[in-house]
């Protein structure tokens, strides 16, 4: 076993040597991971957003939205991939379906909660002034729901990127391919890829946090300041929105 053979520092040194020698390979796999995760996130958004916004706008199906979200979060990523290995076999489709399913719950729960929770008096005023329902959704509810919705998207990205290396066991490619293939790459390769995956996940989260700050409407920031609350909600708040009610009990 590698850790027995070399000292602690040596193992990390080796992994950095691996990075130096295989930079283009790692970059290539990183791009593949980004493409895979991005595509899965995109599909999850396209499938979930309209549905969740619509439910939230109508204030309907809160039980269902939260139940789907909770059901989703009880699904182990590895187990999902395994089940789809049984159903769809090895390949891109399997991985894609599994990652999309992983990505949906936070988007669903947060988008629903955010739109459903928009101040009803604000919506009443909008309607009373003669805004059409579509206008209310796009000009009032979505801007006001944006921070919490975006927190859900961040969480979803976190889940998807977190699961993407696992997808390698089903032929998903990317950096996970190296991590699960110690026989070919050695432990220095595994460690190098692991460090890159971790860095990628952290980088993406940092960028999304900046983006979230940028797209949060100024008026909401002013409101939060006036109330002494924080403006930008983080991944942990998104997790709170997903917390289970004892609905299935």
């Amino acid at each position: 076993m590698p850790f027995a053979a070399a000292g602690l520092g040596q193992q990390f040194l080796d992994s950095f040597t691996f990075m130096g020698n295989n930079t283009s390979h790692l970059l290539h796999d990183t791009l593949a991971t980004i493409a895979l995760s991005g595509a899965a996130l995109g599909v999850a958004l396209a499938v979930t957003l309209p549905f969740a916004v619509w439910l939230g706008h109508l204030h309907r199906g809160s039980g269902m939205a939260i139940r789907i979200a909770n059901l989703g979060r009880a699904l182990p990523e590895l187990g999902l991939i395994a089940i789809f290995l049984a159903i769809l076999g090895i390949g891109f489709l399997n991985v894609m379906v599994a990652l999309v399913i992983v990505g949906i719950p936070p988007i669903l729960a947060n988008t629903f909660t955010a739109v459903d929770g928009v101040d009803p008096d604000v919506v009443d005023a909008a309607r009373g002034m003669g805004m059409s329902e579509l206008w209310i959704v796009f000009k009032i509810e979505l801007p006001l729901a944006l921070p919490l919705m975006f927190a859900g998207i961040r969480t979803s990205a976190l889940f998807v990127i977190g699961a993407s290396p696992l997808a390698a066991i089903a032929g998903g490619g990317g950096l996970g391919e190296i991590i699960v293939n110690q026989a070919s790459y050695g432990f220095d390769g595994v460690l190098a890829a692991a460090i890159w995956v971790a860095a990628l996940a952290l980088l993406v989260q940092a960028l999304l946090a900046l983006l979230q700050r940028a797209i949060t409407p100024e008026g909401l920031k002013a409101q939060a300041r006036a109330r002494g609350e924080k403006v930008v909600v983080g991944i942990s708040d998104a997790e709170r929105a997903m917390e289970a009610t004892p609905s299935h009990a």
């Binding site: 005023a125 009373g128 002034m129 805004m131 206008w135 008026g219 909401l220």
Partner: protein, 381 residues
Amino acid sequence: MQTEDDTAQSSSPRQHARAAELEFKNVSKRYPGADKPALRDLSFKVPAGEICVLVGPSGCGKTTAMRMVNRMIDITEGDILLDGKSVRGRKPAELRREIGYVIQQIGLFPHLSIGDNIATVPRLLGWDRKRISARVDELLELISLPAETRDRYPAEVSGGQRQRVGVARALAADPPLMLMDEPFGAIDPITREHLQNEFLRLQEALRKTVVFVTHDIDEAIKMGDRIAIMREGGVLVQYDTPDRILADPADEFVARFVGLDRGLKRLALSKLSDLSLDDADSVRDGTPAHGQANPDRVVFVDGQSRPVGRLGRDREPEPIGPVGNPDTSLRDALSLIMSDDNRPLVVVDADGAVAGLARLDVIAGALASHNGRDAPAEARS
């Protein structure tokens, strides 16, 4: 009179404000699943340019009645006519753009600047940029907010200012009808009074038809040209001017609702300018007064006839106390008189010169003469 000048000034924004006549015709409302109707056979007419206040205890259906006008709530039976035309056939969104809408919680859009909030309906109506911008400036001036406020966000102004912005936003497209649901309900008493006066001043100039919901009878008396008093179960009990409702409550319920002090409340509706004043014996330059028959009538004045002192009951000169002016309500005048040993109140005119004296029995007589005029068929004790 000076008030005419005032009016001409503040009405500058729009001289020919449109106003619509509003009529409820046998309107009933039953919410799905409710066993009793929320409104029963409601009929009344609000003449163009008047403020009609819907007042009554909580749950009596005021909000329901108001929200049926702009079709935020569907009418179950009957009809509501705006300038003779039914609202039932109108597209709700279009109808609502023609009706100003103010709610207690205001509902300003927190992500839009004050200016953009005010511009909401003009944008929906497709006005061009220049016109919208000019209108926003005009409205900010109308509600006496500094022009810089237009770029602030709702969270960055005070509660009273937010409420004014809510009114301005409703006025933006110059609607012929305004619906206001407890617009000043959630505000401290001092700011509320300020906003009430400000709105009355605006209304003086704009002359909109207004449906104003409150559960506070004092606010109703102050704001309303007409008051519709409703009771539990959505029944209209009395629809009349404030003075007549106070002078002649339709039944026990109304009498209790307006309160035992309704006589005093009525006094609040009249001003000293409605009263015939006694002449005062003005004494200039502190010349000692001798041989006056009634010391209560003696007022020492300066060169401009402004009161500086009075003669006490002990015939010793004393400095002048509080004085009334033509706008002082009879209720306040009464209070001042009673806290001054029932001596007549010195009343000054707009220039501060002594105009006369208001006597306790004259004020009491005014109340009686109102009764005589307004309730000829008086049948109660």
